[in-house]
């Protein structure tokens, strides 16, 4: 039976990890996501399901512990916030390069540098284009509610294993720190199956190697081509989004995560004034819902990309709408830890499309 609780996004995702049969968590404290590890430690999941929780000495160590446990075929995760994610990028590139599954949560905060501890969405490029070196992508999920923080957890693991890829859950301080009602799914069993590719001691079979190295570039290119094929499959099969009031819309906002929630409120204002605005909320940031945006763009008078950043996702919106150059694509965002209000989004919308 599903259970209803009032939880922070950070707590919900931690509880969901236990319930999703996660095998191990390795992390390092950083605001605004420390509750994830704190919740796990308090819950003693090793008693509930056998899940391992270990505080690492650094983000770099944590992601490499993830690498090790993932190599064993386990469902393993880490979490951090912006500066900590930057430190994990070498490791993430290795995980992608070695075709390993894992889940990485970024509860993003304002940057660059130490920045602030307040919410931001300025790690979009890092998450979506590949902040680490080499031609890799993560599959990126962007929850917009505490409920989705919980629900994206098993989804993330399923996708990670389906594609043997790192999956990032790109959240932000708003979603991580806000409490909402959440319906928790039932405990799922931890998997006892050892995947065909996992290292676990080679009793009775050929040995297995987990590596991202090939000194022969031609072979390394093969691995790269296989990666690109995976990404193509993701683009074909894994695009997720929410359409909100798009059917009759003359204008479109595109926003994800907390921004999408706030944008919805600003759309309420617009609708009150009789302006027909819809929202396209990407749930997967990679793969990006380009096709649906391209389709919607055809009947729009203008598109506003709303992000808590100086303008990152807007590039993917622009790329998606290349066939409709006549439709203006604008960006509005506050950043450095400032969360835009519904009012200012609405005002920016009016201004950008001269609806003042």
């Amino acid at each position: 039976m599903s259970e209803i609780r009032l939880m922070k996004g950070n707590e919900a995702i931690a509880e969901a990890a236990i319930r999703a049969g996660c095998d191990a968590y390795f992390g390092y404290p950083i605001t605004p996501q420390s509750e994830v590890m704190e919740y796990l430690m308090a819950e003693r999941p090793e008693k509930r399901t056998g899940m391992i929780v270990l505080q690492a000495e650094s983000e770099v160590a944590a992601i490499n512990m993830v690498f090790g446990a993932a190599a064993a075929g386990k469902r393993v995760m880490t979490s951090s916030s912006s500066p900590g994610i930057s430190l994990k990028l070498e490791g993430i590139s290795y995980i992608a390069g070695a075709d390993l599954p894992c889940v990485i949560l970024n509860v993003a905060r304002g940057g660059p540098g130490l920045g602030t501890i307040q919410p931001a969405q300025s790690d979009y490029f890092q998450a979506v284009k590949g902040g680490g070196h080499g031609d890799y992508h993560m599959l990126v999920l962007a929850p917009a509610s505490v409920q989705e923080m919980a629900d994206h957890m098993p989804l993330a693991f399923d996708l990670a294993f389906k594609y043997r890829t790192p999956v990032m859950i790109l959240s932000d301080g708003v979603i991580g720190q806000t409490m909402e009602k959440v319906k928790l799914f039932d405990q799922m069993p931890r998997s006892t199956e050892v995947p065909q590719w996992a290292v676990c001691g080679n009793a009775g079979r050929k040995n297995r190697i987990i590596t991202s190295l090939d000194l022969d570039p031609v072979k390394k290119e093969q691995q790269n081509l296989a990666l690109q094929a995976k990404y193509q499959q993701m683009r074909e099969n894994e695009v997720r989004y929410e359409k909100y009031l798009c059917d009759d819309a003359d204008y479109l906002m595109v926003a994800y995560g907390a921004s999408a929630r706030i944008a919805k409120k600003s759309i309420e204002y617009a609708r009150e004034k009789g302006i027909k605005v819809g929202l396209l909320r990407p749930i997967t940031l990679f793969p990006f819902p380009s096709a649906v945006i391209a389709e919607l763009a055809k009947k729009m008078k203008g598109i506003l990309s709303v992000e808590m950043s100086a303008g990152q996702m807007v590039e993917d919106v622009l790329l998606a709408t290349r066939q409709t150059p006549q439709v203006p694509v604008k960006h509005f965002g506050r950043y450095g830890g400032v969360v835009h209000s519904p009012e200012e989004i609405f005002e920016a919308f009016l201004k950008h499309f001269n609806l003042g």
Binding site: T31, Q177, E180, R261, I262, V339, P342
Partner: protein
């Protein structure tokens, strides 16, 4: 029905837990709820505030800048949030330490002497429940029983003996709000 509330005061005045109790009560009544705190490095004292939304439909933005009700526990918060109350909305404040009173005329302003009354009752810690009671008198969006049930949920079992005291404070708050 949607009620958008800001609760603000010093860290340590129980601002966040008041919000939490409200949110819990909302859940008891099958409402949608959202509780969004200001957060920061734990030790920096200063002010704390939380945005609480209770609604019978899906909640869009947990982030708000304008509120139906502001519950205010110190001067700094009063200065900061008085202008954020929607016209016709409610501003409820505890008058302890308030030197500059709210001045708006387009909102309903209420005061509760909760700090003083709680001290008088000999349990200064329940002053926030008294403020909550005052609020519920003005805006009975959740029942007292559900608040108590919500409180029970948010308190660890070893503190459940405090429930009666809290209920009394809640009811006293309803009585003394002006």
């Amino acid at each position: 029905m949607t009620e958008e509330i800001i609760i603000a005061g010093f860290g340590g005045q129980g601002v966040l837990s008041m919000g939490k109790i409200l949110a819990y009560s909302g859940i008891m009544q099958d409402m949608e709820v959202s509780w969004m705190p200001s957060y920061g490095p734990e030790m920096r004292g200063g002010t704390a505030n939380v945005t609480v939304i209770l609604s019978d439909k899906e909640i869009s933005s947990p982030v708000l800048t304008r509120f139906d009700t502001a519950i205010i526990l110190n001067q700094q918060s009063l200065d900061k949030f008085e202008q954020s109350v929607k016209p016709g909305g409610i501003l409820l404040y505890d008058n302890n330490g308030i030197s500059v009173k709210p001045s708006r005329t387009d909102i309903k302003i209420h005061v509760v002497e909760a700090t003083a009354e709680a001290a008088r009752m000999g349990s200064p810690k329940v002053f926030n429940m008294m403020v909550l009671g005052a609020y519920l008198k003005l805006r009975p969006i959740v029942t007292v029983d559900n608040v108590i049930a919500g409180l029970k949920k948010s308190l660890p079992a070893r503190h459940h003996h405090l429930l009666d005291e809290n209920k009394a404070a809640l009811i006293r708050g309803m009585e003394i709000v002006a």
